[in-house]
């Protein structure tokens, strides 16, 4: 008997068809991937499977129960982690976990084995409120909450967005253990390495199933979407043409302490003009805190730093004139149109109407966005929003642009386009300071630093690092270094 049978399911919201004649089956104990770009209909599919939504047409059975008529039976058997799942921020880590354990009729002690690998990383912060955790830490806690019980079917809607590579590996190892207990798992993910860990995947696009097969089959068949050719990496050469580029960022012995906890613990580095600097680290290593100090959002506890020639301690308002910033959370106004957003941020940086109008048209033409000039940002797909946010953050030609996990949750093809934009900006002499959890993106950087426990553990070009630690790729370098961490939080 199949654990899940979906037959000809359709679902519309008004005129928008979210799911169009979708059919697939998942065997018992199978790890099944449901992949596709943002807005493909994955979330609607999960909700129908969990009996949260009723399909317009078609039938769904989960564990042999009908999703329309036997709601209670299904809800007793499934576990679900929604895409936008957030915890109770005013409860502590432990309270969250305990609540969800009780909710699913088990206890933390009983379920501890199945979550140990991830929960042990945050266990020392069990008395801290969930709201005070960093983004990646929250996600880890959410994973722990979702896995603390053993349902017979588990639905995971992009569970690892914003989680560092090491923890992602641990997470999938945990899923492997669940599989051994014959638990059926349906998961979606934008990470290719995770797609490869599924036994079968279904590729969903614009509400339709494009293909079902083994990961390799699907990834080869839709290579243009999932495995776009790498970007020509000739940037380093253009960089070296400048005889002696000056330092745009200089940081010495920078420390940020919250009480006795040193989130950033004595880091020093320099970034040269026009460089693409990858600022890597596990969740909670202190990346975001360091970035906040460089952009003038936070005052350092001690140490010195200069960005575009200004002191980060005293001249932060000067710095803000010469930098661009794009944060983890999407940072344009959703209720303004594309053009209005550009106009607002350009105006803030002191451009006049004529210049704005000219450069707006230019930019939109370049992005092939001209048709969407008057579209509300809220209605754009995630990938487009991120490209637009990046373009806006460099619209005033800043000396350096800070990108905090700019491609979180974005599909591979769009990520590639995004990096083309980064190269273009770097080519114009804009220094790019970027954090990411995608190790293929790390390879695109000119130079990389890897932060562990608030300190910089390694720094150099990707090739240098691979040689130094004797690892085949950045993923392994990162895993090698991050596994040495003793603490995990910021």
């Amino acid at each position: 008997m199949n654990a899940i049978e979906v037959n000809n399911v359709s679902k519309s919201y008004g005129a928008v068809k979210a799911l169009d004649d979708v059919s697939f089956t998942v065997g018992k104990g199978e790890v099944f991937g449901l992949i596709g770009p943002d807005g493909a209909g994955k979330t609607s599919m999960y909700r129908i499977l969990c009996t949260l939504l009723l399909p317009d047409a078609g039938t769904v059975t989960v564990d042999g129960f009908d999703a329309v008529r036997q709601m209670t039976d299904i809800r007793r058997r499934v576990g679900y982690m929604p895409g936008k799942f957030s915890l109770y921020e005013d409860l502590t880590v432990e309270e969250n976990l305990q609540f969800f354990a009780t909710l699913f009729g088990t206890t933390v002690e009983e379920g501890y084995d199945s979550i140990k690998a991830i929960y042990s990383q945050i266990e020392r912060f069990k008395d801290r409120r969930a709201g005070a955790l960093s983004g990646g830490m929250k996600q880890k806690l959410a994973l722990s909450c979702a896995l603390v019980h053993s349902p017979s079917v588990l639905f995971l809607d992009e569970p690892t967005t914003g989680v560092d590579p090491v923890s992602r590996k641990e997470f999938w190892e945990m899923l492997g253990n669940l599989k051994e207990r014959n638990i059926t798992i349906v998961a979606s993910t934008p990470y290719l390495d995770e797609v490869r860990r599924c036994e079968r995947v279904a590729f969903l696009d614009q509400g339709r199933i494009r293909g079902i097969g083994t990961p390799d089959e699907i990834l080869t068949r839709f290579a243009d979407v999932f495995n776009p050719p790498g970007i020509q990496h000739d940037h380093a050469e253009t960089l070296s043409q400048h005889s002696e580029p000056e330092n745009v960022i200089e940081v010495e012995h920078l420390v940020k302490a919250f009480g006795s906890f040193h989130a950033v613990d004595d880091i020093s580095f320099t970034v040269k003009r026009g460089e693409i600097f990858g600022f890597l680290g596990a969740n909670g290593a202190g990346k975001t805190t360091a970035m906040h100090m460089l952009t003038g959002l936070n005052q350092p506890t001690s140490g010195t730093g200069r960005v575009v020639g200004y002191d980060i301690r005293t001249e932060h308002e000067q710095i803000k004139k010469h930098i661009g910033y794009m944060s983890q959370r999407f940072s344009l106004y959703e209720d303004l149109t594309v053009a209005e957003n550009i106009r607002l941020f350009a105006g803030i940086y002191g451009m006049d109407d004529k210049e704005i109008a000219r450069k707006t048209d230019e930019l939109l033409a370049r992005l092939r966005f001209a048709d969407h000039k008057d579209t509300l940002v809220a209605s754009l797909p995630l990938g487009w929003k991120q490209k637009l946010a990046f373009s806006v953050s460099i619209f005033h030609e800043p000396g350096v642009v800070f990108l905090d996990e700019p491609t979180g949750g974005v599909d591979p093809a769009t990520r590639r386009q995004f990096w083309e934009l980064i190269y273009e900006a770097a080519g114009r002499g804009i220094t790019v300071f970027v954090t990411t959890h995608y190790m293929d993106e790390a390879e695109y950087c000119d130079r990389i630093s890897i932060m562990v426990d608030g300190k910089i553990k390694a720094m150099g070009t990707p090739d240098e690092l691979k040689r130094k630690y004797n690892q085949p790729d950045m993923d392994h370098v990162f895993t090698y270094l991050a596994r040495q961490a003793t603490r995990s939080s910021d």
Partner: protein, 352 residues
């Protein structure tokens, strides 16, 4: 059962950890009781009075002295003509002028009160008091007794109203927001998919607010009795029973709102627009229902706090028996049955 208890505990923690909201929730009844009990009065007191006379003779002086001696009036100045007096009133240096005619002494006649009529109620009361003081009308033919509230304290009238408002606010507004917050944050999806029955989720959510409402009720009653000196003459048992009916009604309303609202902001605005404004304005809390136009009286007839406040006033202040408030209680029970049935029928076990 264990799930249920841990659910209730979790909700309790949400409430307890939001310090600012807690402060407001408990500060509000205290402050409101103090303001209504002590600060809000329509006593005639310190009325700034101008005396208008061309010749201050003995009799005029006597009348003026009598006014000045009373605690109601303060003579601020003496001017020569009514025109001057009006100017003083217009520039808000005085509220009232007493014009003594030139022949006041001889005929005991010709006194005119020029009163700032902006506030109609107060203007009339000032006139009544001034007339009474000047005529020295002690030998009245009428013996008046003020029943239930001999000192005419406004607190007597407002304590039941504050109860009606705060209980509704805490139960309906807070419950609806806390349910909608879970929807907004996505946790509701997980709760619904969990083995816990949807009805249990809702009941567990309501219980902490029920407790909170009860604590607030007790605070108000204690303050009313011991700080404001409002005699709680009625049966405490029935006061509590009717309050519980009312609290349940408010919880059902909150549940209904949470079904309609998609975001916290909408829930907030809905509670404010649909609950708070009508309660304050149309329940007879501040403004008497019988002075309203017929249409508004009809609207006020479907507002639950109106009956609760009415019943509480009768029970607490007038001390009548349960028989006399049977009508109000029956209406409240009817509304409760209707709203609860509606709320439970409308409650979404799915997402749409």
């Amino acid at each position: 059962m264990k799930q249920f208890i841990s659910f209730v505990i979790k909700e309790g923690k949400h409430i307890l950890r939001d310090k600012r909201t807690m402060l407001i929730l408990f500060g509000m009844p205290l402050v409101l009781m103090l303001i209504f009990g002590f600060a809000i009065t329509t006593d005639v007191k310190n009325v700034r009075t101008v005396v208008v006379t061309s010749s201050m003779d003995h009799l005029t002086q006597q009348a003026v002295d009598r006014l000045a001696a009373s605690e109601y009036f303060t003579i601020t100045q003496v001017v020569a003509t009514p025109r001057d007096a009006e100017r003083v009133i217009r520039s808000q240096k005085a509220d009232m002028a007493i014009v003594f005619g030139p022949d006041f002494a001889s005929k005991r006649s010709g006194v005119q009160l020029i009163v700032d009529g902006a506030d109609p109620n107060m203007a009339q009361q000032w006139t009544n008091y001034a007339t009474a003081v000047m005529l020295n009308a002690d030998a009245s033919a009428v013996n008046t007794k003020m029943l239930f509230n001999p000192q005419l304290k406004s607190a007597y009238n407002f304590v039941p109203a504050i109860m009606g408002m705060l209980l509704m606010l805490v139960c309906a507004m807070m419950t609806s927001i806390s349910i909608v917050r879970e929807k907004e944050k996505g946790t509701m999806e997980v709760l619904l998919v969990s083995p816990v029955k949807p009805l249990m989720i809702i009941i567990a959510k309501a219980i902490p607010y029920l407790v909170l409402a009860f604590v607030i009720l007790v605070i108000i009653l204690l303050m009313a009795r011991f700080v404001l000196g409002v005699p709680l003459v009625g049966s405490l048992f029935w006061i509590v029973v009717i309050s519980v009916i009312y609290i349940l009604l408010a919880l059902s309303l909150g549940l209904l709102i949470s079904n309609v609202a998609k975001t916290q902001l909408v829930a907030l605005l809905l509670s404010a627009m649909v609950l708070l404004v009508p309660i304050v304005m149309l329940s007879g809390m501040l403004f008497p229902v019988e002075s309203m136009p017929r249409v508004l009286q009809w609207i006020s007839a479907i507002i639950p706090p109106r009956y609760y406040i009415e019943a509480m006033r009768k029970l607490m202040i007038m001390g009548v028996g349960i028989k006399e408030v049977a009508r109000e209680v029956l209406i409240l029970v009817g509304m409760l049955a209707l709203l609860m049935a509606l709320a439970l029928a409308k409650f979404n076990k799915r997402l749409e």
